[in-house]
Amino acid sequence: MTELPPKGKKKLGLVIDLDICVGCHACVTACKGWNTENYGVPLSDMDAYGAEPSGTFLNRVHAFEVQPATGPAQTIHFPKSCLHCEDAPCVTVCPTGASYKRAEDGIVLVNESACIGCGLCAWACPYGARELDQAAGVMKKCTLCVDRIYNENLPEVDRVPACVRTCPAGARHFGDLGDSESAVSQLVAERGGMDLMPELGTKPVNKYLPPRPKDRAPAKPLDPIIADMQTTGLAGWLDRLLEKF
């Protein structure tokens, strides 16, 4: 049923460290690889080798430039996938019951055999976390790799979402955000983990760790060269000579 379940204690989700992400897109590839071969229909590509390729992805990495009031701009790589919201608007709008939030761990899933592909849940999501697969006509979204995290056929180290397992920089963390003692909850508390678009009241479970403040003024690599020009060598001589005219 598309009624939201009673608030559970367990809230599985991701914590993404924007200070660490290098924007390599390995999580995008690992996600597409795992999820196209496992739970649900494959993540199709349309016109993959043609002029206008496009495809279904459950995770995409944007890059933003942030300009502070003073100092140089910063580039921040920004992976984005389903935030498994506590008040998930994508769940309640679903007319068929295909879209649901699990009571036991808070994962938001789509029952693909009940999905009519109306697209309303994708409209209701502020984060662009849902994409209608153009080959199968059903809604695809991050499953938090539900077929990995409880999978006892996998070695224990692999029982995390594919994106977390593959991240070479350690920018992605997986855990129970409902347990204040968990490693992810402590990370969020320590680093001031934040919600995306909190004004829309979706209460995302996934948190983003903001980039750490710069602890020193940015280097000015041209300064020594300019100083050198003013004092020594041919450039210094020319500088002094030209100053006279």
Binding site: P89, C118, M197, P210
Partner: protein, 291 residues
Amino acid sequence: MHPAPSVIIFTVFSGLGLGFLAYLGLGVVHPTGLDAFLVFGLAYGFAVLGLLASTFHLGNPQRAFRAFTQWKTSWLSREAWSSVISLLLMAPVALIAIFLGVHSATFGFPAAFLALLTVFCTSMIYAQLKTVPRWNHWTTPALFLTFALTGGAILSGWASAAIALCVVLGVLLIASYALGDGRFAARGSTMETATGLGRIGKVRLFEPPHTGTNYLMREMIHIVGRKHSVKLRTISVIFAALLPALSLLLLPMNIGTIALALAFHLIGAFAARWLFFAEAEHVVGLYYGAR
């Protein structure tokens, strides 16, 4: 939002058909015999054409029956129920008018109520979405219901009501355009809140996640349709409200006048509905540096 033809046809024609059925259910017009057959046929035709069009944009229309299950939370599911019950309840009204030559208020009044409730449910599919601030407003159900009532009054040949409703519709359209323009800013979602990076400074898109397009961008970031916004707004008010009112006011009331007024009204309704989608901006655009 992408102005998909199937969704525009669905909302315009189902609204018109259900609006007309509401007048027929209330007995405002009460044709009998063959006239009743043709008139109810026309109203059903519009309503069913519209409702069928709504299934064209589904990825898996063969499972559409599942849309009846979630009426507790989903406006789309409520619309499915309401539309089917109103069309079923209207059937005895039509049959009694055709074969017995009388108007059945017993079936007609509840059927009329449900016909309008269906239009309301349709409007709430859009009005409920916080992610599309322009839609997330009382003017959305008000417009959908006024469109249904105006189109229905024109088809019913009830000139005085149709003219009054045209005036209301014109004012509502202008109000919805004026109020709608400020809705996105009023919602307060910006690239800074979307990324949480506002605490550092001003955010702009440095690089999109991919060089091509994707489902989200095709579906929710529609810029081309907004280009002629001012012209289409003017066309929608003149054709949906002004010209039908003038035709009904100045021309003698006959079937030709009704057809003319309806043709004007539908042109305006399509322009208004196109804009309703094309001008609506989804907050997800913020992640793509667009709206």
